[in-house]
Amino acid sequence: MVPRGTATPGHARKGIGASLLQFIARRTLILLPTLLAISFVVFMMVRLAPGDPVMILIRQSEQTVGTEEIEKLRQDLGLNDPLPVQFGRFVNRALHGDLGKSLFTSQDVFETIVERIPPTILLTCSAMTVSILIAIPVGVLSATRQYSKLDYAALSGALIGVSMPSFWLGFMLILLFALRLGILPAAGMAYLDEGFGTFLKHLVMPSVTLGVGLAAVITRLVRSSMLEVIRQDYVRTARSKGLSERTVIYKHALKNALIPVVTVIGMQFGSLLGGAVIVETIFAWPGMGRQAVASIMRRDFPMIQGNVLLMCTLFVMVNLLIDILYTVIDPRIRVEKMK
């Protein structure tokens, strides 16, 4: 998708496939140290927590276990090895999908979390959809009618949106739609085989609760990006060709105005994952966020580590995807980043 009016010479076009691959390869390579650093932080969690890691890992108080037993456990768990060795083992195991066992249920951490990933992805993606569906039309209208009442209303709405605690909005929605009107379920997630209607009904409130804050952020961004674009020459050219205002705005201006929006959407995915921790707790959504909170409450460290590790990995991957998508949309960025 090359912006209209920027002619791409034939020889340059040939190079794009190769340079794109090169860019993706480089960007993926940078990912490795990041993931390693994240793993290190996650690995250190148990070691930094107050108390002996052995005690944390066996969930016992020192009175109930003898010193000899503790020493044996320490040996078995490899806690006597030097830290780099322990870390190497942690990474090696994690790469093989072994994140240990839950201290609480003795279930395999990786298996438990894997089941929780799809609900979280479903929730964050639908929240993202909700926010984009709100933000783009509102942002465009707001920019094309700058300083009108509608513009002020949109801006105030956006400020309220970023200021509203999601846990409060969630409650208000439950109060209205589940308890007073009784048209939406108050909690839980439905699977597709329970019927599309049921599936959707369960999805609506959590997605709106999670998406509203982001909608507010994106609205402001679409508005300012759009304001910048509609003053440019090529938009004036499009207008002077006699195209309808609708075509000018939606076909010519919006396409370019959305370029900066895409990166922000990628970065905001992290805030959605963080927000999901709260929203999943409110709506009893069976995702990673709720599980992370529950395991923090129980001090179930392998489970906490697994959830944090996978959430961060997901976040890093999404950012990689967005970065690649971004360079596909706007080749100038690639050239810039390759330098």
Binding site: A49, F269, C312, F315
Partner: protein, 280 residues
């Protein structure tokens, strides 16, 4: 300096929303400070004979909670907690952020590299996920919330100050300061920081709102202030069981959080427009 302030105030007072935010926050600070004069009730005293009274009950303008504690008293005492938590989080992250950003931006080289890699590492975590991870290590409690949020949110300030320094340190007034033999520390403190502060102040004001929101979110999850502490997020969380019988228990704390955060956002936007119109 005085004319600078006059110019700033002339611009600032034209922004009605920012003034509204400032007034609201001043009022809130006053109410929080003089809370004992505004309500006869102790925010944490049990009164099991009058639980879950609805709002507008005589003596209890906003009703009572499941333990008979006065909701109005809890709300205004809760303001103390939220404002203080916000202030401490911002002070902590500003201190770390300004220090790290100044060192990275002024000295450059390996120091810059080390600091910026640390910043990149923290930025690779989703903010709230990192905050709950720190809470997992430290254990629940309102003091730990402040440490967790403070140690996560400094990276924005560090990046900002570093960026400003990179541009400023090449300027002539800094060169002349160096030429007359001033120490690095004096140059940073007296020449660079004051010129880099405008966007930082704006960001810190907006950050107050964000910190209050995150702190109440952590308390809502049960990781922050513990009952019976009158903290807004914790109050909301406790009220969720009674949402059918006593929706006021979760409604009012949420409104209190929202208006406070909104006021900081109004104020921050106003400060941005009047401190440095280029940032608009």
């Amino acid at each position: 300096m005085e004319t600078g302030f006059v110019v700033f105030w002339q611009r600032f007072k034209k922004n009605r929303m920012a003034l509204l935010g400032l007034c609201f926050l001043s009022l809130e600070v006053a109410v929080a400070a003089f809370a004992p004069l505004l309500t006869p009730h102790d925010p944490t005293r049990l009164a099991l004979e009058k639980t879950l009274l609805p709002p507008l009950t005589p003596g209890h303008p906003l009703g009572t909670d499941e333990f008979g504690m006065d909701v109005f008293a809890r709300l205004i005492y809760g303001g103390r907690i939220s404002l203080v938590v916000g202030l401490i989080v911002i002070s902590l992250s500003l201190t770390i952020g300004l220090l790290m950003g100044s060192l990275a931006g002024y000295y450059g080289g390996w120091l810059d590299n080390v600091i910026m890699r640390l910043v990149d590492l923290l930025a690779a975590f989703p903010f709230f996920v990192l905050a709950i991870s720190i809470m997992a290590v430290l254990g629940p409690g309102i003091y730990n919330v402040m440490i967790a949020l403070g140690s996560v949110s400094w990276i924005g300030y560090a990046r900002m100050v570093r960026g400003q320094f990179l541009g400023l340190k090449e300027k002539e007034f800094v060169e002349s300061a160096r030429a007359i033999g001033l120490s690095d520390w004096t140059i940073i403190r007296k020449y660079l920081l004051p010129n880099a502060m405008a966007p930082v102040i704006v960001q810190a004001t907006l950050g107050m709102g964000g910190a209050i929101l995150s702190a109440s979110g952590l308390s809502f999850l049960g990781l922050g202030a513990q009952p019976p502490t009158p903290e807004w997020g914790a109050m909301l969380s406790a009220g969720q069981i009674y949402i059918r019988r006593a929706p006021h228990l979760s409604t009012y704390p949420g409104l209190a959080i929202m208006f406070t955060v909104l006021a900081f956002n109004f104020l921050g936007d106003g400060l941005r427009d009047s401190l440095d119109p280029r940032l608009k």
